[in-house]
């Protein structure tokens, strides 16, 4: 009886197998051409590429500033630039890298391109809003550049009051720029959450959602909830500067520590905005190149959400020496340690995924192994800093500088590069030079460690951050670090060179060069304008590497809207019948 009832609820849909074309005539790149079609496009793929070009530009600007800073630190006091210029440079390096590169890097560039394809959707839920997000980002970046040229800012990317409300320069303009970029971030978050909820292809249940989508989902929640607080805080700073209303400045009756609470309430979760999408990339790349089902799917998916949630409750760990109450410090310290647990769980699960896999050491996987080591060091030094007594000694020293560069560059940028290499054939339809990619990965890994490992040592010895001048005892460390930064810079330029070269001279990429089971690889490279010529039907999960390839690449046999949630389907593929759960 039960069986009969159950089967009466089943909706039968006819599916057939669609093999992707190996050499498509029409792709999203060829169907609408010309500069105007790009500037007004609502295609998530083109918007993703525009983001990619923009963040690459700002990454190299921010990177150039880092090299200038490192060169200046070759000797104590003035090497070739003045103290005030130095202070402006480190402020811009931080602001550009965080607001113009890291925050939009994986979500807005790779996420935009890949997310709808992984869901089997034609586009994101609100394509026009998506374009607006991009232009808000561009407008915010423009305002920030205007601020830089028109007085500059020397507050550090943290804009701490009362320094930021009393110093000269274009702080108000800059905060307005960041304010505008914040809206771009919020709108992207709204768009992604709606897309994940409403646009999944038939059969794509929550337990078959690729972990990259789970990462973006968690990220979007943080973007929506945290970014408005940044907007409010920056608006308050502007009010204090322009109207003289005392909010943070004690001379006007305000409280400078209040600012830090507001600022970190956004900026700590923002760290997770930057790293959680990177976790998603790791899960995709590791399964594809070990050809193995992910170990602990739900542990990884839910740990992203746990990080997003607990991440909101730890901001006070930036303020252990600010004068906040000892009790508050204790609570924040404890909660900070808790964030370490879901992060550790992810590391262990990824490692376990490799067990009995079929590991192919292609360049995306090499970047992921780079990520593993660097993020592990970054995460464990985070445990050191979460311990209050140790933070009292290490706070605002180079130890902290090294820690967040290990997490942000060693973790996030490595994951971003892994994702970029992984999806590059899908995005451009071209293969890059694999040998050069492996060499560049090694150069970046070495350069990174030479740059930042010495910073842990000098930070432990007491070298404070944001120092133009320093006592002589630190010079050898600074010089090694500077040499490392040149190696690192060379590595990034090399990646840029071979990737751009591949667009013009690269071999044509097949539809699925890595043999991935994920949906975005079941269409041609580059994809058609509307991603799928058919409505895809999902029977197997994205990590079902134990199943043969011909159980993937499925689509509705007849045309129809198909955007339902029928997880039960009886399938006939090439006359073969598959019993699906």
């Amino acid at each position: 009886m039960e069986t009969a009832e159950a089967s009466s609820n089943l909706k039968k849909i006819q599916v057939q197998r669609f093999k992707p074309e190996s050499d498509p005539d029409e792709t999203y790149l060829t169907e609408e051409t010309g500069i105007w079609s790009w500037l007004t496009t609502v295609d998530h793929k083109k918007i993703g590429i525009m983001y990619l070009a923009s963040i690459t530009f700002f990454f190299f600007i921010g990177g150039l500033m880092a090299l200038l800073l490192r060169t200046e630190l070759w000797t104590p006091a003035k090497t070739f630039i003045e103290a005030n210029t130095y202070n402006q440079l480190f402020t811009l390096h931080g602001s550009i890298m965080i607001f113009l590169f890291l925050v939009p890097s994986v979500p807005a560039a790779l996420g935009n391109f890949i997310l709808p394809m992984q869901l089997g959707a034609k586009d994101v839920a609100f394509p026009r809003l998506n374009l607006l997000s991009y232009y808000l980002y561009l407008a915010g970046a423009g305002i920030a550049v205007f601020a830089i040229l028109n007085g500059g800012i020397d507050t550090g990317w943290t804009f701490y009051t009362p320094y930021s409300t009393s110093t000269g320069g274009a702080v108000t303009t800059m905060t307005f720029g960041v304010f505008v970029i914040g809206f771009s971030s919020i709108l992207t978050g709204v768009n992604f959450i709606t897309t994940i909820h409403k646009m999944r292809a038939p059969g794509l249940t929550w337990d078959k959602l690729p972990l990259f989508c789970w990462g973006l989902y968690a990220t979007s929640i943080i973007q929506i909830l945290a970014t408005p607080v940044l907007a409010i805080t920056l608006a308050l700073v502007a009010m204090e500067r322009i109207l003289g209303i005392g909010i943070f400045d004690p001379a006007l009756g305000g409280d400078p520590v209040l600012y830090q609470h507001f600022f970190w309430f956004y900026s700590h979760p923002a760290v997770y905005i930057m790293i959680v999408p990177g976790f998603g990339v790791v899960s995709e790349v590791i399964t594809t190149f070990s050809r193995k089902h992910i170990f602990g799917y739900w542990a990884i998916a839910l740990s992203s959400l746990a990080i997003a949630f607990i991440g909101f409750l730890v901001w006070g760990h930036h303020m252990f020496v600010s004068g906040q109450a000892a009790l508050a410090s204790m609570v924040f310290s404890f909660l900070t340690f808790l964030v370490g647990i879901p992060t550790g769980i992810k590391m262990f699960n990824w490692t376990a995924t490799l067990y009995k896999g079929s590991i192919d050491l292609k360049s995306p996987l090499l970047y992921i192994f780079g990520f593993f080591f660097l993020f592990l060091v970054g995460g464990l030094t985070g445990i050191v800093l979460a311990s209050i007594a140790l933070d009292v000694h290490l706070h605002d020293t180079y130890y902290v500088v090294a820690h967040f560069h290990f997490v942000m560059v060693g973790g996030m940028v490595m994951a971003f590069l892994a994702g970029l290499h992984y999806w590059w054939p899908k995005i451009t339809g071209k293969m890059y030079n694999e040998i050069l990619a492996k060499i560049a990965c090694a150069i970046i890994f070495i350069g990174f460690n030479v740059t930042f490992l010495p910073q842990f040592v000098m930070g432990s010895q007491g070298m404070p951050r944001r120092y133009f001048n320093y006592i002589e005892q630190f010079q050898p460390f600074h010089q090694v670090s500077t040499i490392g930064s040149y190696i690192l810079g060379f590595g990034f330029v090399m990646v840029f060179y071979y990737l751009v070269k591949s667009i013009f001279r690269g071999e044509k990429a097949p539809a699925n060069p890595w043999g991935s089971r994920s949906l975005e690889w079941q269409v041609a490279s580059p994809p058609p304008l509307h991603n799928f010529h058919h409505t895809p039907v999902i029977v197997n999960g994205p990590y079902d590497y134990h199943k043969p390839m011909d159980e993937f690449q499925l689509g509705l046999a007849e045309s129809g809207n198909g955007h339902g949630h029928e997880s039960d389907a009886e399938l006939h593929t090439d006359g073969k019948s598959i019993e699906a759960e």
Partner: protein
């Protein structure tokens, strides 16, 4: 055990500044516990990954992998063990932090004022010093700190302590330096142009020596007998951190250089000119905003009204005269 201690001492010398306070060793012990256990974990995990990479390297394109979705026992294990570890680190860190926070009752109190870009210390008997914090050995010292402008932070690496110094409120910290000697002080909250030059030294005296220093400096200080007025002036410009912004070799810093300045004409920001003489220098020390030299920013130099007496100002003028 001895070997382990030797190793720890060696690591301490390599990675941490010399420990010069009674609590520093508590911080160091925790520092090494977390770092060494993290090191073991890192090596362990990397070793497993490297082993997997070698063992499960792809041999052919048709390889099929087994379906392993999860293992509850394993996952609980690697969640609970780290949880226990971090709770240990949390509790330990909090305990040391409480020791750092709770000031002993018999602490000797010094008031600290921070401003761009100097540290000024005031003692019970009215003695003041700038750039040098004088304290007795082997006695708890409590610092009551406040800022005159933006947020600064008082950091003594050798004592493993740090505390932000905030305008509009008082913050406190304490330490006990068991042995005479010196320790470096940094400002660790970014405060503008001279941030990295905002340094000071903690001078730890033997008890008797400290009493002598206090007595000598009560009431603001007078010229030591063994110094000429210009030499005393030079010492004062160092103690009051004048040279953070004013060079004596002609190089341009935050403020005008003093080299060859005396007797010369300076152009002011309003276009007028002034001869640099005794009166101008005196006025610039007491009312820095009155006349700003062209090309320099107003609002940076603090007033020394009430900090320097006439004899000290005279000595500084004598010193500037010698910088030809």
């Amino acid at each position: 055990m001895n070997l382990f201690n030797d190793l720890l001492n060696w690591l301490n010398d390599l990675f941490l500044p010399p420990a010069k306070s009674t609590l520093a060793h508590q911080t160091d012990a925790l520092f090494w516990f977390v770092h060494l256990s993290s090191f073991v974990l890192t090596i362990g995990l990397i070793a497993v990954i490297v082993y997997f990479i070698i063992k499960y390297r792809r041999q052919s394109e048709d390889e099929v992998t087994p379906l392993i979705t999860h293992n509850n026992q394993l996952e609980v294990t690697w969640s609970v063990i780290p949880l226990i570890l971090v709770i240990v680190v949390f509790g330990w860190g909090y305990k040391v932090f409480v020791n750092q926070q709770v000031v002993p009752d018999d602490a000797y109190e010094v008031n600290v004022t921070a401003q761009k870009w100097l540290w000024r210390f005031e003692y019970e008997n009215g003695a003041t010093s700038t750039g040098q914090l004088h304290v007795p050995e082997d006695r708890p010292v409590k610092l009551v700190m406040s800022s005159n402008d933006v947020i600064h932070s008082f950091f003594v690496p050798a004592f493993r302590i740090k505390q932000d110094v905030v305008p509009g409120r008082y913050t406190e910290m304490w330490f006990n330096a068991p042995d005479p000697g010196e320790a470096q002080v940094f400002c660790t909250e970014y405060c503008g142009t001279g941030h990295s030059d905002m340094m000071a030294t903690v001078v730890v005296h033997e008890q008797g020596e400290f009493e002598d220093w206090l007595a000598e400096n009560s009431g603001g200080g007078s010229k030591p007998d063994d110094l000429s007025p210009a030499e005393w002036g030079e010492q004062l410009t160092q103690q009051n951190a004048c040279r953070t912004c004013h060079s004596i070799d002609g190089s341009k810093m935050t403020g005008p250089s003093w080299k060859g300045i005396f007797g010369h004409e300076a152009t002011l920001s309003d276009g007028s000119t002034v001869t640099v003489d005794e009166n101008y220098i005196r006025e610039s020390i007491l009312e820095p905003e009155a006349k700003i030299v062209e090309g320099y920013q107003a609002g940076l130099m603090p007033t020394y009204q009430g900090q320097l007496n006439d004899k000290q100002i005279n000595a500084i003028i004598e010193y500037i005269k010698t910088l030809k």
